[in-house]
Amino acid sequence: MADAGHSPAEYVTHHLKHWASSHDDAFISVEAWHFDTLLVSTVLGLLFLTLFRMAAVRATSGVPGKLQNFVEILVDFVDNAVKDAFHGSRDFLAPLALTIFVWTFLWNCMDLIPVDLPPMIAKHVFGLEYFRAVPSADMSATFALSLSVFALIIIYSVKGKGVGGFAKEFLTHPFGAKLLPANIVLNTVELLAKPISLALRLFGNLYAGELIFILIALLPWWAQLIPGLGWAIFHILVVTLQAFIFMTLTIVYISMAYEHH
């Protein structure tokens, strides 16, 4: 709900400002730390790791408990997803995929918390003027993941094909050695499109979702229930789907990089 005395535009812009070390309007800031994103995502990550570590410590090959069952379903699901696309050793890639899936899922889940609640708590309990609770609605978080994946794509390309093989493919694919400049342009675009699309897809979906929630919160209280409920239910799908897509594309990109064309 909008605070009395603020215009809707002020309300929306207030909600879209980070708790940051400094505020500037640059699209890519070089000095502002987004504390809220870092804090929320780290807490969520620790939640994930604590839960899974608990299950791992208690893991038994006998009759599994409920927590172990839940964790095993996720582990099996991720392991199968990796197994289907990637034919190398899964020792690193499968845990990576699991971390990405559960972590982004938890990020996205923050979008289901009432949109005014985290800033209100931040303001009245911790005295923070601005607070954004959804890490995946911040490009810093999504690009952090996608750039890590980008680095892994390069590493796995070199690992799978060797430096020479990677360079050769980069220079001579898909048009042959005669059209070297065209190959370089195309491959650069292809390579860069992967992390950018990966980050922007997740960010776009969750940012739009958050924005709709903010807009719904601008309605009179009696008109919020139906659209708020509808959008939240729809968002359950988006939350899961976007986390799944991010994980699957990570696996696919890395396996494409690792294997010969």
């Binding site: 987004h34 899974f52 299950a55 020792d91 845990p95 490009m139 952090a144």
Partner: protein, 157 residues
């Protein structure tokens, strides 16, 4: 809407630590437990199959033993009845022989009795003949002098 370089770098470091932790301390124990359970289930299924096969074997063996026992019983029964028939036959033969022997003995006895009676009769006839002849001749016959004649007579009777 803003991406911040320090945030990205910080977030990447956090991400790296999380992935490392998952890889080291979360993933291996869980997958190991799952693999062990898979192995256990496979072993259990194999054992069950083995048990079923053993049961099948045992039932086949018992069936066979039953069949053999039945056949043996049949054999024993047949042998017994054969032996019984043999015994009866033997007894019959024995009885026959006994009967024949008795009949023969009786026959012999009768024969001997007849011979005996004949001998007796002969002796009597001799005496009677001597008495008759003495009466006829009215004199004493010297039995000793006429023994030859008498014996001849007796033999002729």
């Amino acid at each position: 809407m803003q991406a911040s370089i320090p945030s990205i770098v910080g977030q990447m470091i956090v991400f790296g630590i999380f992935v490392w932790f998952t890889m080291k301390f979360v993933w291996p124990p869980i997958t190991r437990a799952m693999e062990e359970r898979r192995q256990k289930i496979a072993d259990g299924l194999a054992a069950a199959e083995k048990g079923a096969r053993a049961l099948q074997d045992a039932s086949a063996k018992s069936e066979e033993a039953l069949k053999a026992a039945r056949a043996q019983a049949q054999d024993i029964l047949a042998a017994a009845s054969k032996q019984a028939a043999q015994l009866i036959e033997q007894a019959k033969v024995q009885a026959q022989q006994e009967a024949e022997r008795i009949v023969a003995k009786a026959h012999e006895d009768v024969q001997r009795e007849i011979a005996h009676a004949r001998e007796d009769l002969r002796k009597r006839v001799g005496e009677l003949a001597v008495i008759g002849a003495a009466k006829i001749l009215k004199r004493e016959i010297d039995a000793k002098a006429h023994a030859d004649v008498l014996n001849e007579l007796a033999a002729r009777v």
